[in-house]
């Protein structure tokens, strides 16, 4: 950074992370169906989903999947700034932030970074078809997603989509249905037919293709599909079908979390 940041404590320039000597006996890649953490190919990481943790927010949700931890907070509906033109529908603003301690490499840039901007656009595309924004004219909804711990490569975004949808439902935003998302990684040539669902960072790094699916299982509609890498059409179809099944399971988890939260708030009254 050329100009030093005057809004924060100054730190030494050019700091880098410590490097450790690698173990001389790296574990050989086991080509069998078991993965490094012992999961089957179509098995997802254990999920913890809890709405309503941020008290100041209109709606919030916290989700853990394995080592990935994401916190979503919804503020609004609130009025648009005076400079904005008249809009008969509500506007959804999405902001994704990675905590500096979120991944192995410490992120030094405090403001906007290039990765979060693209992820926010994809998250907005995934959520917009599910929201009934025309029932909230002349207002805006702010959605803040904070990744506390990152272990999923772009799979953090899929976890964030599910949590964001639960947070919006908790805030009372009218919506057509809950959006859940799942990612899958396809391995290189020797195992090119097998797709591993809900991949971790190491698995995604070794893959030849990465697929993300966001859908509304209650209505049977898809809101977003992303694909990077090279994959055969048959394998892609099978992978998307498996991802859709996982999205249906996630929808059950989200439904249970929302109903528990609604019952808890009713007993509190």
């Amino acid at each position: 950074m050329q100009a030093s940041d005057r809004r924060r404590f100054t730190a030494p320039d050019g700091a880098s992370a410590l490097k450790y000597r690698q173990d001389s006996s790296p574990a050989a890649r086991v080509p069998s169906s078991s993965r490094r953490d012992g999961r089957l190919a179509a098995q997802v990481r254990p999920i913890f989903l809890q709405p309503g943790l941020v008290t100041e927010a209109a709606g919030s949700a916290y989700i853990e999947a394995g080592r990935t931890k994401v916190l979503c907070a919804v503020y609004g509906p609130k009025p648009t700034p005076p400079s904005a033109p008249f809009n008969p529908k509500a506007r959804l603003n999405v902001e994704i932030k990675f905590a500096p301690f979120a991944s192995g490499v410490r992120r030094f840039v405090p403001g906007k970074d290039t990765e979060a901007t693209g992820l926010a656009a994809v998250l907005q595309q995934s959520l917009l078809p599910s929201l009934l924004l025309e029932t909230l004219p002349k207002s805006q909804i702010d959605l803040f997603v904070t990744v506390l711990e990152s272990d999923g490569w772009d799979n953090d975004l899929s976890i964030g989509v599910t949590a964001a949808s639960v947070a919006l439902a908790e805030a009372g935003i009218p919506m057509r249905g809950l959006v859940t998302a799942c990612s899958a990684a396809l391995l290189p040539a020797p195992n090119s037919k097998s797709a591993i669902l809900d991949p971790t960072r190491d698995e995604a790094r070794d893959s030849s293709a990465f697929v993300s699916l966001a859908c509304m299982p209650a209505l049977g509609t898809v809101t977003n599909i992303r694909l990077s890498g090279a994959v055969e059409p048959d394998a892609l179809t099978d992978t998307l079908a498996k991802a859709h099944e996982v999205c249906t399971l996630l929808h059950g988890v989200a439904k249970q979390a929302l109903l528990d939260s609604a019952r808890r708030s009713r007993t509190d009254e």
């Binding site: 609130k78 009025p79 005076p82 439902a169 908790e170 809950l178 209650a218 209505l219």
Partner: protein, 184 residues
């Protein structure tokens, strides 16, 4: 205890004998009524509706009764910062405007804003339109709409209403003019 539903849950279908209409908190697709909120289903007549949480923040909509605080007055209009919408709390940054022609039902041309509202008054009004990009358009042209609470400009004590257009300071007896709200 009524059943809890989540968004996207089907509430009824046309295969049921009667055709049910979609009320607040629901939406329809292909004749099917779905829930749009997390809450309880209720059916009144042939209308299905979903009632969400009470504490969700309300947004002003036309024909809603709002209560707000006068933040600014000009010769033509009074600007309100909205507090509640139909009895539910609202974000204070929603603003509404009472134009001089919307203050009273009668004698519209002789209305003077500073004789009807002062900054700091708590006013009950009705939303008549979405207005422009900044403010909603409000109206107090009804007997039950107008100033609910005001303080004296000299002593700061709460004024008490004595007629539809006058309020009196209980300690000094000084009379100030307002557009006073009648009973609801």
């Amino acid at each position: 205890m009524a059943a809890l539903v989540i968004p996207g849950q089907p509430l009824s279908s046309q295969t049921t004998g009667a055709t049910l209409a979609a009320g607040p908190g629901t939406w329809t697709r292909g004749g099917q009524v779905y829930a749009a909120l997390v809450g309880e289903v209720s059916r009144e007549g042939g209308v299905l509706s979903v009632k969400g949480k009470e504490e969700t923040q309300a947004i002003p909509e036309p024909n809603a009764i709002v209560i707000g605080t006068v933040s600014r007055i000009t010769r033509q209009a009074a600007t309100l910062s909205l507090l509640t919408v139909d009895g539910r709390p609202c974000r204070p940054d929603f603003t509404g405007i009472i134009r001089s022609q919307d203050v009273r039902q009668t004698a519209k041309d002789s209305v003077k804003i500073w004789s009807c509202f002062r900054p700091g008054d708590v006013v009950r009004a009705k939303v008549i339109s979405l207005g422009d990009s900044r403010s909603y358009f409000l109206s107090t042209a009804a007997n039950s709409l107008g100033v609910l609470f005001a303080v004296s400009t000299s002593t700061g004590e709460a004024l008490e209403a004595v007629s539809w257009e006058e309020m009196r300071d209980p300690s000094t007896g000084e009379v100030e003019s307002r557009k006073v709200a009648g009973p609801e």
